[in-house]
């Protein structure tokens, strides 16, 4: 391992380690022992317990699948609607105000509706996740399509491209950096909504891992009052989301080579 690499890893972990140290000292010295406040060592033990029992991985797998379905659905729908809104005025007048009205409504507000429409279970959870992920992708794609250089569209037209080919071969690639930015934000909101989403899964999973990570955290809070496991859930979500975001950033650099000349 080169020294530059060691330095980079050190820079990556230094701040989290410092925060964990402060957390440990604060809880063990300044918080009464009777409180429920978890310590880092307690969280690590909880982490090991949940990992060895298989609960954590099973829950993450469940949630990941729900997010994958919900996110993919949101991505496809948001791109199609944004391209239509940006290029077809009558459609924009009809659809854009409706979407802007729904945008400020929090995903958790849809939990009762989702259960009503889809019943308790995975479909309702996928709906909530898709709802949460849709708006940032839509808003960013729309901005990206609206900002396309008109010269590129004119060039495509004079080269014999028809509207559907222009949409596929010019508009989407030109807007791709914006789409990926929207996807990164959308993926973040999808994870943020996972607890709300998996409230709909109900207790039929029995509070075990198979209800998903959101359900797991929800159950631990309500029935066991064990904050250690909740922190384990929080950190797990954070780490998985970080990994997914890194993949998106990598894709972003690959598909827009003209935007990162510097690095």
């Amino acid at each position: 391992m080169t020294s530059g690499r060691v330095q980079r890893i050190w820079r990556f972990v230094a701040l989290p380690l410092l925060l964990i140290a402060i957390w440990q000292i604060a809880v063990s010295h300044y918080v009464p022992a009777s409180s429920l406040a978890p310590t880092p060592t307690g969280v690590i033990r909880g982490f090991v317990e949940l990992l060895t029992s298989g609960e954590l991985l099973a829950a993450l797998e469940q949630s990941l699948l729900r997010i994958a379905f919900g996110f993919t659905f949101a991505l496809a729908l948001a791109i199609v609607i944004a391209v239509l809104v940006a290029t077809w005025k009558p459609f924009a007048y009809m659809v854009d105000p409706i979407l802007e009205t729904f945008r400020p409504i929090a995903p958790i507000a849809w939990v009762p509706m989702a259960i009503l429409w889809f019943g308790t279970g995975t479909y309702a959870a996928i709906f909530i996740v898709a709802y949460a992920a849709f708006f940032p992708i839509y808003v960013n794609t729309l901005a990206g399509v609206r900002n396309i250089d008109r010269g590129l569209l004119n060039a495509a037209k004079t080269l014999g491209a028809r509207p559907t080919f222009i949409a596929r071969a010019v508009i989407i690639p030109a807007a791709l950096p914006s789409i990926i930015l929207g996807a990164r934000l959308g993926m973040g909101l999808a994870w943020a909504a996972i607890i709300a989403a998996e409230m709909t899964v109900g207790s039929k999973a029995g509070g075990g891992g198979s209800g998903g990570i959101g359900q797991m955290m929800f159950v631990f809070l309500l029935y066991r009052l064990d904050l250690r496991y909740i922190v384990v859930g929080m950190i797990s979500i954070g780490l998985v989301a970080l990994l997914i975001d890194a993949i998106f950033q990598l894709i972003g650099r690959r598909v827009s080579p003209w935007l990162n000349r510097g690095n």
Binding site: A155, K157, A161, R261
Partner: protein, 265 residues
Amino acid sequence: MKERLTCEGITKDFVNPRSGEILRALGPIDLAISKGEFLAIVGPSGCGKSTLLGIFAGLVQPTAGRAFIDGKLIQSPGLERGVCFQDYALFPWLTVQKNVEFGLRARRVSANKRYDTARAFIARVNLAGFEDRYPHELSGGMRQRCALARVLANEPEVLLMDEPMAALDAQTRQILQDDLLKIWGDGSTRRTVVYITHSIDEAVYLADRIAVMSARPGLIKAMINNDFPRPRPGVREMPEFARRTNEIWQLIRDDALEALASTQK
């Protein structure tokens, strides 16, 4: 000679969004361009020469009047009319090869044929070896070569060029001018070229005829028959070249100075 591009009574008006006042930017313009002819259009900035080219390209609708290609009304872009833009308008996410293939892909030419055709035209504009580069990795001159290859790959009969060399340095421009004349062809295979430029020198070096435009509204002030013998390698040293350049400058000087003053106001 047969007329390839014509227009009758073309005008273009713009509405000032603040005052609601209607401004005539262009016209009325009547033009007839023969098959195989190289027509240059020179004029001060703001004379509407790019708008006129956009009308021939089918990208801009005139307020009044009509434009024709081979007697057919121009209503939209067409493959027989290739357009080169001043800012090249290359797709930044595509390599040189893929940029040149774009028009062929739009027409669903098979991948093998696309590949070979694009290679051939890239070589034709002296860009061989740069097929896998992205536009941002090329110099301005190379980008314009790529844009030209992309247009040529569609084998248009007419080239509409909107100040294609305005952003290039003087040496690159002279080299590209000679390459363009080679690509233009000779004898009966010559394409028809409409070439917009603000450089009088360039117009006199390249064109068969030069349309001199005035500004506000853009009108054709003079049509000059530019009959220097071809090929023209030494023409810039001829006294007639300087005389003609100066003659055209006299025609547009007042408009050019006025245009300059109005931008400084």
